[in-house]
Symmetry: C2
Subunit: 431 residues, 2 copies
Amino acid sequence: MTASPPTPPGPDDGISRRGLLGLAAVGGAGLVVGGAAGGALAASVAGAASGSGSTTRYDFYGGHQAGITTPAQDRLHFAAFDLADGATRDELASLLADWTDAAARMTQGLEVGETGAVDGSPYAPPEDTGEALGLPPSGLTITFGFGPTLFETAEGVDRFGLADRRPPALEPLPRFTGDALDPARSGGDLCVQACADDPQVAVHAIRNLSRIAFGRASLRWSQLGFGRTSSTSTSQVTPRNLFGFKDGTANLKAEEPAEVAEHVWVSSEQGPDWMVGGSYLVARRIRMIIESWDRVQLAEQEDLVGRTKGEGGPLSGGTEFAPIDLDATDADGTPAIAADAHVRLAHPDVNGGIRLLRRGYNFVDGNDELGRLDAGLFFLSFQNDPARFVTVQRSLARDGLNEYLRHVGSAVFAIPAGVPEGGSIGDALLA
Amino acid sequence: MTASPPTPPGPDDGISRRGLLGLAAVGGAGLVVGGAAGGALAASVAGAASGSGSTTRYDFYGGHQAGITTPAQDRLHFAAFDLADGATRDELASLLADWTDAAARMTQGLEVGETGAVDGSPYAPPEDTGEALGLPPSGLTITFGFGPTLFETAEGVDRFGLADRRPPALEPLPRFTGDALDPARSGGDLCVQACADDPQVAVHAIRNLSRIAFGRASLRWSQLGFGRTSSTSTSQVTPRNLFGFKDGTANLKAEEPAEVAEHVWVSSEQGPDWMVGGSYLVARRIRMIIESWDRVQLAEQEDLVGRTKGEGGPLSGGTEFAPIDLDATDADGTPAIAADAHVRLAHPDVNGGIRLLRRGYNFVDGNDELGRLDAGLFFLSFQNDPARFVTVQRSLARDGLNEYLRHVGSAVFAIPAGVPEGGSIGDALLA
């Protein structure tokens, strides 16, 4: 379709693959500061090339995967993949190895491959799709997970000889009150969570991993999130969800290592061995009926949440980070935190001490045919047993906010531990 | 649905409407620097409250609407609205007046209303939905436009007595080769373009304008864009589109006032009077078939575009901003810029000197059932006659890139001039 036949790039044409690669290297000029555990440390260097990206760079390799306790980046592209029909265990292993290599490079601000062409040939397509060229690492983290169907399909088929490797905790989530799940937005054999300060960098990561998967796995569903709804570090300002409230004030924070160890990481007692140091990820696409919510008066909105809208302080008194007093009463003896208030039903004291590490994102995906924004919260939480999420979610069955919520997508994934340099994210599972 | 009856906020409860309003005022603490014409000047003050927002603040009022020559912000939420069945001319006027007031406030980092409740009553819902509380102005611009159907429906109905006010240039766009338009993503009586450095601020603007429209107009379609694909100022780095190429290198820039006057603003000679100082906006949702594109070798990609992928220099030689030499040939006499290269067919020299001011955005809206990302370019261009766009788009009928593009949405809007403080964006039209 070109008038003149394409000329392969040569070493002297000034547009060589090395030229392309060189551009990415400029973008990746920030410093990397230690961090044995993924997400523990990063250098934030001034002078981003453009856009909203930062030169923050997180180690990909480490004891835990990055993107869990890493300070929640502002933007998300999440994707669930299904293995291709007839894919073999070897293909699964090679896919995970290829993904690992590409993720390790992209998180450092490098192009996905070393040569610029998929097979090193000038007649082949570029190895990297290019839209992140010149952008800094932007705090990109890439986190991989395995869904229940990878171990055994709903029909009981063990496609990859993994049924006996399935962690007992990795069950499909039960049905919850009010679920209105779309199968096309639920489940998946594999997941990839890409978080970054620049959405172009997160999108570039998912696109290139999807491309690498071609023929072995394909996108089942994907979700962009434009605004984080949780802090995972005490260094972060608490963001707001699309109800207009601060969200995640009481979230687990990276600066609470004992609590993170207790609630998030799979211990050797919990097992199985290959999951030690890993976690479980629950993803829920929660549509907010914001047009109805926006007609609720301020005092009732605050009653439903259990916090003030402006400051975010609990209705039992105090500023944002004041402890919630579930027993406090108003002058007339009414509970300050209503019986169906969200913060009461989600509180550790009514859930056997359970705390979840949340990493959710606001989303808006256009609008429906009634002119209502398709908007809400893409809820993500990490915990060392999905049963912990189930306990909290069952408690929330009485949540007064439910009138304004529809859970339309759901998935659970086993998140393996991190991997040392040179390894593959599939090594522990497939050993 | 609450256990305890909601208590209206009072002046002493510490969670008053003033408390909410006060938060927004903190976010809006940046300086405003002059700028009679919208988007001409803005102050960029260090120290954003959180996220990617900036304290950049643009005047809403001025001779031209902001959001046209304003340096293209990184994020977009665009919305097309239809007036409600049976809406009157008075309702149209009041909607545009209410939108103007809200836009003037939101662009300054303020809440949408002054009191915190939609009618000043503590029993009413909050006047602002709240998700941008605490965020700085983030360079928000809000640009309004009028579609052909506002003046006369496709069936020839003049709902608002505006048929004789319709600018002759404001015709529905003709059908172009390869159009695969979805009516649900095309057209609209009104449009609102919200651009900001922080997507949460852009989304907040469209949500609140949609809410204000309730009962008078409703969302017809909307589109989020995560990454600008054009620079509109020489101060900006050229961004990349999802083909991985720099886009908008040769775009009209705010620093070329004579060219902007010639190509973008409606002159008194062009008229009609009420459109002088305005422009016309063309919006096209262009799906990129990126999975196919990603299989094209680098040299052919560059041939199709007419520029190198790394540097973005024209294939006729030179670096990014080198002039394109359409007559240059390779050593063997082949044109350096192919006959079907995008940059040739879009070049002013083959289009009667026409230049468009482009303000497009990259988008990814999940994926289709085949596992392909629903990704592409949301093309936006401003010009003082839509016929200019038509000329260029017809030239692009031979564009070799078309194999990788599908135009799935299309709209054109008259963009009135700016409005002085206290006026309404509908004044000139409805006078």
